[in-house]
Every structure is written in structure tokens, then in C-alpha cells.
Symmetry: C4
Subunit: 249 residues, 4 copies
């Protein structure tokens, strides 16, 4: 993705808008199912998973060409390990990711004030016990792995891959797939089923960051940065221009 | 999308057919779940969300090359703000979008007359209170944002992005995602769970239109119209044809 | 799709295999949900819709390059009206489509003999009353419309469009989306929730065939066969080869 | 897929990582729905189906360029029959596929130890009676067929096709879609709804392997290996380079 055309302010706005919208849809779908439609817990989690899969796909498609659509400090860290991003970018992105998430949980709550009431805002008491931290580590490792491999392939499928890894992780893992430190922090501030109590949020933040780091190192071995399969730029050589053309297609 | 090949009558027919089909599937899936299959409210909303995601994707894929597949006055307005469409087109599209929606809700009701009865036609009494208007504003802003960005990218993923933004918004937002003034009007005229009482429909129409306008202005800053990343036509210059060829690929 | 490479026997085998698999998954998912898992009717229909969407997408992707993956006499008829197929092909395809469907419902039943018993085979008594015939007409019109438009665009999305039109039509229309005469016939021979009583099957066959014909005529006006937007072959002209190359990209 | 760039160790790591993750998500989504959220059996199967569809798609997209992303001995066998892979590769892949699956079921159980307890590890007693073995044969035949055809087409849709064939097979077939001998073995070692008792696992392994073989022979007739539709490399001939260029586009 060639993002050189955009200013760092535009990129930070993209990361902010995307991070806020991601948290918005996670919290909002949970409040809709559980608070308004009185769904069973499993249908509530299904709502969150499908809604997140859909909108996260859209966010990556929409913002990818601008900022790379990390929206997730653990992804930014993984791309630091592989060399796909740099410290300057990381320092610009991570604060607006966290800020976006907090705005997102606030906006989501506001849209339910008329139907559920102000009690949507609360410090969550939902427990996420120790074995689910392992799920966060493994799941974030898969998420970052998918992103790194699809960057290597210069693939158009990265949006769907990110959306499905997180969204279907929500209905597929013991932690219901946060896989994202800023999302873990933001989800402390809701009374809905998407919440997480503060201590467990800290553990999720640690586990998902380590998952990103682990993926970064695995892919430094599996597919290091310079090698691009089937997408290599034509190497300048001594052959005539015409021969070079003949081998491209 | 190069739509110059089609006459304005063909384009208006495409907008009419698409708008009618969009409302048809929203109302019909709700009647099927709630009126025929006696599903719980949450499963009813899930039916509407998934069915709308699927068919709206199909409509955009099918009609996009002909009319641009707006099917939504708020999208037409957003594209007016960014300069991606013009007033003449807007004046042609918006009336047939509203007309299509009304035909769509009528046809949907007709297909349930044998199983549910003529009471499917009614002025809806379903309330959509004030905080859900904010959800309409925010959701339509996301929808229009996705469309504008994917137009900028000349992306093939626009159909899936539109389908998932609306369809997964239905299970992900406090308003169950109308995001479309003509849909809000049409859904007044059904007794099903997809309905909306008249006053709230007016507020939804206002909120979604403002959401489209807000997205238009945001993207005038984030990614204004002339800049097309990676899709630029080769500029004519003084270099030889062969050199030009060598840099393309 | 260039299908000239395949013999008519290979094409007929593809149509047979695809038609059988399509009916297999429709009937099988219904028996699984209703007969084995004791799901509620709405969850049963959701199973059928999602499973059909997924597998029909796969069948079109897999068999499209061989036979065009009609799998549906109403689609074959629609493509006759638009001139996208010919009578000789239609005469070869339609009998194996019907035969495939009958084999499909038989195999689906066999896979449930140990768990549900031989009563899976029966003449269905499920009623599909008159207003649902209108849903069949409208839905098949949409299905054939999507196929014709995506053929015009030479689009890679045709598999997903076909899968989603039918699969999400199952949870989105009063008829639960047969949209296919051979499927209507085959589904007479099952005791499951996917069944249809013989008289209604005949009416569904008529309605879906008319839907295909109506779509064919609509698209003869909206987008007749010779015009391919943005996919036109370079016209031979008097300019040099190099100039021609320079304008392609 | 050009996988020549990767070492056999990298390829085996990819097969191991993918096989483990595939089993992980199947077992984990079942434990989440049934053990933690107390979902009904049908919703439990829906969780497994959707989660598997999503993550398997991601795994194929992510690992396809490295190892081909078989993750399934029956697929490896099918590709042996068609000549798309060789015995040396098969001997390297199959053991790590089985090993990966066993690690995957172990990790999935570990993530539920705090919430469900150590009883997640058990020899399964879930029966999968005789008629479901036919479902395994037919479903694996479809899975391998889809893979072979999409390899022939050099299609980018292979990830989605594999994910949807298996994932929607889970909610669409009498066997709830194992379609994979290593998955059948691994799922012996869980107490969850995704389990299978040892004898039936052996029968599933046999049935799915035969399904792969049958698909291989069918496609040796339908679309043998050398013919690539529309993707043929330019044949070297006596014409000038320029003429060759003019015919490519």
C-alpha cells in the first residue's frame, strides 16, 4: 500500500476514525442484542461477532490505503518487529488508537441512552479468567500473522482476512477475541456483555501485545520482508527493454 | 465506473429496481422471521441483517456499472458534496429511489398475504427513540465514507463493503441501520418488526442525510476527488513510447 | 467464460454434479437442523440459507469455467432470452439438472438414515400458498438479473452473487427462495422442513421460469448482449502496434 | 502458486501452524458455545460452522503461497491422484498435519481450563453413526473438487471456497463436516460437542480419504492438469517479440 501521498495528520485521523468505529460496533451490537432485544448470551456473542467481522472488513478496505488501517497497537508492534512500519509511525498511531477506542465506547453508549438508559456507562465487572489470556495471545498471533502474510502477498483480501479473524474469533475463542490492546481498554467502560473488568483488561493488553511480537518473530523466519512472491519489481539489468517487457505479463 | 454508455432512462430504471429490491428484502425477511417462523426478536433482526447484507451486495454489483447503484438519497447527497455526482443526476435519482422503496414495501407485503394476511399493510407503530437518531447519523457517515473511499480506490470491493456496512449495521447499531432516507419512508408502511412510526421516520431521514453530508466534508479533507492512488492514467510526456511501457506493469 | 475447451459430456457432468450437490445441501441442512439438532423453525431456515449460500458459491466458482454453472432451468431459460446460451445447450443441460436434483435429494436422505430413519423419504406435505408464488417470480427475476449483469461485466464476483441471492433469499423471502424449477421438483421427495407439496412445486416451477423470462427481457433493454463495459477487446486499426500498446494498461 | 521460494522446513511449519489453528478453532468454538454460553445444540453447531469458515479462509489465504495450505491429508491425497503434488511432499506434510491437529485440540482445551475445567480433555463419546460416513465421503469429494478446479483456474477465490465448503458443510451435512482425517483424529480428544468417539473417527478418516481419491479421479477426467483455461503462458514461437506483446493484455 502506497501511503506516501497522505499527510501524517490524515493518517492519524484515519487511525482515530477507524479505532473509534471498531469499538463502537463491538459495544453497540452487544447492547442491541442483550439490552434491547433480550437475546440469549450465545445470540448476543453471535451478534457481536458478525457485526464486528462486517464493519472491520469495511474499515480496513476504507482506511488501508491511507494509514494502513492498523487500528490496533498489537498490530503496530508486530509490524515494528518485521520492519513493515517504523517507530515514528508507531508513536503517532498508538495514542490515537487508544483515544479513538475511548470515544467509540462513549458514542456507542450514547446511542442507547433512550432505550436502555445512562446505566450503559459503567466500569465493567465481566470476568475474563486466566486461561482466556492464552486465547488472546494465540488469537492475536494469528491476526498479526494473517496481516503480515497478506502484506507480503500484496493481497486485496487483507480486509476480509482481518475482519474474519477477529469477528469469527469472537464466536470461536475462549476470550471472545479482543486481540487488540486499545479495544481491551475501551471495553472496561461499558455495562454490556462486551465489557471486561479492569485487571483482566490489563492482562488482555499484555497477552495481545506479546501475541503480536511472537507473530512478528515467526514471520521474520517464515517470510522475511524483502521477498515478494510473484510481485517482484522488474530488476534493472543489461538486457534490452523489449526483452524485459516480454518476460512480464 | 464508466456509466456514460447508459441512457438516463436506463440509469433511472436501475435505481428504481435496486431501491425497490432493497426495501423488499428488508421488509420481507422481517415478516418471514417474525410473522411466519415465530422467531424471537433477536433472530428476527439477524434474519433482516444477513438477508440485507447479501442482497444489497448483489444489487451494487449488478447495478453499479449502470447507475452507480446509489439506491439511497443520503449517498447521492454525500457524492454531491464530494463532487462525485452532479445536481442533474441527483434530481433524476432521488425521486425514483423514493418511488422504488414504496413499491418494494408493497410487493413485500403482497408475498405474505396468503400466510399472514392483509394486516401486513399498516402504518407502523414501532418507536425509534431519540438516541437512535445519533446511530443513524454515525452509521450513514460510515456508509458514505466507505463508498467515497472505495470510489477513490476504484475498488472492486465496493459491493461487499456497502452490503456489510448496512447489513451488519442492522445487528450492530441502536437504530438497526436504516442509513437511507427512502428506506425510512417506505418502512412506515408495514406492520412488521422492520417498521418505523412516521415521526421517527422523518427524524431518521434528517439524521441519515446529515450523516451523508458530514461524510462528504470529511472526505473532502481526507481524500479529495482528483487523487487516485495507484490507478493514475499514464501521463503523456516527451519520453519515448518504449520507456513509458517499461514503467508500467 | 471460455468453455469451448470442454466437451459436451464434461459440461453435462458438471451440470449434473452441481445440481445434485445444490439440492443435497438444501435438504441436508434442513434435516440436520430440524431432525437431528431439534432447532426451532427459524434456526432451521437460517441453517438452510447459510449452508446454501456457501456451497452454491463454491459450485459456481468450481463449475463456471466448465459448463457456466447454470444448475437451474430458469437461469438457462433467461440466458436463452438474452442470447447468452443456445437451444442446443439448453436441451443438453435441463434434463441433467432435473436428474441431478433427484439424485441430490436421494443422497441427502441416505446420509440421515442412521440418525433419523427411512422416514426422511416421503412426498412432502409442506404448503407454499399462493402469495409465495409471487416471491418465487420476483426472486428468480433478481437471480437471473444478477447473473446476466455479471456476465456482461465479465465479473469474478458471479459466484458470490449467485450464492448470496439464493442463500439470503432463503431467509429473506416468503417462499424461502427456491428460485429454481429442478430444486422445486426434487424437494417434493423429502419429509424435512425443506419440502414442498407437489401442487405447489408445480406452481413454483412455473413462477420461477416466468421470473427468468422476465429478467431476460428486462436486460435485453437494460444491457443487451454485445456491449461490454470496460472489457472491450482492442479494436484492430491502422495505428502501429506500439501505439496500441501504449493505450492499453 | 509458486512455492519454490520456500524451504521444506518453512513449508512444514506452515502446514503445522495451519493444521493446529484449524483444529483449535473447531474445538474452541464448540466449547465456547456449549460449555460457556450454554447455547442450544443448533446454535453450538452454528458457532462451529461460522468460526471454522472464517478462520479456514484466513489460513488458506495466509499459508497458501508458502505450503499450498493443504492442512488435510485427504486433500494431499487428492492432489497426489491428479498429479498436483508429489509423494515427497505428501510424506513431509501428512505427519505434521496430524501433529498439528493434536497440538490444536490441546491448546483449545487449555484456553477453557479456567472457565470449564480440566474435564475439557477426555476421550469423546459422541457417536457419528454409519450414514454420516457417506456424508464424509461426499463432502470431502466436494472439498477436493473445489480445490482442484480452483487450482486449475489459478483462482484467488480458493481461500473462500475452502472455508465455505467446510464451514457451511458443518451446518449442512449429517456428519457436521469433518472432511479431514487429521481433524477426525484430533477431535477424539475433547469432551465438547465437537468430539467424535474413536471408532467413528477411524471410519471418518477412511471415508474422507476415499472422498479425496474419488475427487482426484473425477477431475482427471473433467479437467486434467495441463490445461489451464485463459491462464496459459505465452508459447514461445517464431513471431517477433512485438507481435507477442500485442496479443497479451
Amino acid at each position: 500500500m502506497s501511503t506516501e501521498q497522505f499527510t501524517s495528520t490524515q493518517k492519524r485521523l484515519a487511525e482515530f476514525f477507524g479505532s473509534a468505529t471498531l469499538v463502537f460496533v463491538i459495544v453497540s451490537s452487544g447492547l442491541l442484542a442483550d439490552g434491547m432485544l433480550e437475546a440469549s448470551p450465545s445470540i448476543g456473542v453471535l451478534f457481536i461477532g458478525l457485526a464486528t467481522a462486517g464493519w472491520l472488513f469495511v474499515l480496513v478496505q476504507m482506511l488501508g490505503p491511507i494509514s494502513g488501517a492498523h487500528l490496533n497497537p498489537a498490530v503496530t508492534v508486530a509490524l515494528l518487529v518485521t520492519g513493515d512500519t517504523d517507530m515514528k509511525t508507531a508513536r503517532q498511531y498508538v495514542p490515537v488508537q487508544f483515544l479513538g477506542g475511548l470515544i467509540g465506547v462513549g458514542l456507542a453508549g450514547l446511542t442507547f441512552v433512550s432505550t436502555i438508559g445512562w446505566e450503559v456507562f459503567a466500569i465493567s465487572a465481566v470476568e475474563r479468567p486466566a486461561s482466556t489470556w492464552l486465547a488472546e495471545f494465540l488469537g492475536t498471533m494469528l491476526l498479526a500473522s494473517a496481516i503480515i502474510s497478506l502484506i507480503r502477498q500484496d493481497s486485496e483480501w487483507i480486509g476480509l482476512a482481518v475482519g474474519f479473524t477477529v469477528g469469527m474469533g469472537i464466536i470461536g475463542t475462549a476470550s471472545t477475541a479482543f486481540f487488540n490492546p486499545q479495544v481491551a481498554l475501551a471495553r472496561v467502560f461499558t455495562s454490556g456483555i462486551a465489557g471486561i473488568q479492569p485487571f483482566d483488561a490489563v492482562m488482555f493488553m499484555v497477552a495481545s501485545t506479546f501475541g503480536g511480537v511472537a507473530a512478528g518473530f515467526m514471520w521474520r523466519y517464515l517470510w522475511p520482508r524483502p521477498s515478494l512472491i510473484g510481485k517482484q519489481e522488474p530488476k534493472p539489468d543489461d538486457d534490452s527493454v523489449l526483452e524485459e517487457l516480454a518476460t512480464e505479463t
